[in-house]
């Protein structure tokens, strides 16, 4: 169980942030990821572990001034 972008979500056998992005169908070039307030380097997506109860933010670019 994870909180993704503020919503509780359930995934089974999910190990790394890369797995999460794949599960969500999100291309890694389009987003930046934060796990419990830590910014995950793109190179570490494959290795950065996810555990039950983590809070994940999947961030992208939007219109701004």
């Amino acid at each position: 169980k994870l909180t993704v972008n503020g919503k509780a979500e359930e995934f089974d056998d999910l190990n790394t942030t890369a797995d999460l992005l794949t599960a969500l169908g999100i291309a890694r070039e389009r987003v930046a990821v934060m796990v419990n307030e830590d910014v995950v380097r793109r190179a570490d997506l494959e290795t950065h572990p996810l555990k039950d109860g983590d809070t994940v933010e999947v961030i992208t670019m939007v219109g701004g001034g």
């Binding site: 993704v4 972008n5 503020g6 919503k7 969500l24 169908g25 999100i26 070039e29 389009r30 987003v31 930046a32 990821v33 934060m34 307030e37 910014v39 995950v40 380097r41 793109r42 933010e57 999947v58 961030i59 992208t60 670019m61 939007v62 219109g63 701004g64 001034g65």
Partner: protein, 266 residues
């Protein structure tokens, strides 16, 4: 400005953190009615640098397969300038910059640490401290600040790639409220000075450029106009006009007159 129209100066390039640009107008991607309108407005403005914000992916929109901003910005044409809008302390601002770096879409950041919601005026202390950290981490920091010349200098000394004093509060459309301060900032600056925020219409852009600033950054003035695409073109023309007038050396202001016609001789 490809072919030389009469009166055109040789391409007067604008260098920002080592990168050369032709257009001195930088435009935001916020507050447009549609992505299509944004695309047309950016094109009509002739800008080459666009600001963006970082926010959560909208999961529902994503699941619906909706397009998002990056689908509508040609990264070959535009340099992205992620901002830290909405951050009211340096920690949040620094975090957003680190996130933006992971998108690997360039190392320019618009550092913007605001004091409170009503005026959205920058917090000078938080901005300066965030700037120091970000410069150390290798970011090209374009620092949004008030038009206070002292803070502008401190930001330059802290390694900012450009200092961006406000013309007036964000989205106020009030134009250049204190041209004197901008002029003082320019006199002491060794990095590009860009007026950011508060511009309301084309003549504001021309006035800023005539002061000698390197560029103008705006968003609301275009996105909020009744005809944004036409206003975007007006801003493009005004930016070029102001820069050219600055280079052309205006006549001095005088109280009294000098005739433009020779005295009557009959």
């Amino acid at each position: 400005m490809s072919e030389q129209a009469p009166g055109q100066m040789p391409a007067d390039k604008f260098t920002l953190a080592g990168r050369d640009y032709t257009s001195r107008l930088m435009v935001g991607t916020g507050k447009y009615a549609t992505f299509e309108e944004m695309e047309k407005a950016l094109e009509a403005s002739g800008c080459e640098v666009v600001t963006v914000a970082l926010r959560r992916v909208d999961m529902d929109a994503h699941r619906r397969g909706d397009k998002n901003l990056l689908d509508h910005i040609d990264l070959r044409k535009y340099t992205l300038l992620p901002n830290t809008a909405g951050c009211f302390n340096k920690e949040d601002a620094i975090r957003i910059c680190r996130l933006s770096r992971e998108l690997e879409l360039g190392d320019f950041v618009k550092l913007e640490v605001l004091s409170e919601q009503k005026t959205l005026l920058p917090d000078p202390i938080e901005t300066l401290e965030a700037c120091k950290v970000l410069v150390k981490e290798g970011f090209k920091v374009l620092a949004y600040t008030s038009d206070d010349p002292i803070m502008a200098l401190k930001l330059e000394e802290a390694g900012a790639a450009a200092v961006m004093p406000l013309g007036a509060p964000i989205g106020s459309g009030a134009g250049i409220l204190n041209p004197n301060n901008i002029a003082i900032i320019l006199e002491q600056a060794k990095v590009p000075i860009i007026v950011d925020a508060g511009v309301g219409t084309a003549s504001d852009v021309a006035r800023a450029m005539e002061l000698g600033v390197e560029g103008v950054l705006l968003n609301t003035a275009i996105a909020g106009a009744k005809k944004p695409i036409a206003m975007a073109r007006a801003m493009k023309l005004a930016c070029e006009a102001g820069r050219l007038a600055y280079l052309a050396g205006r006549i001095p202001k005088k109280m009294y007159a000098t005739a433009s016609s020779p005295p009557v001789d009959f």
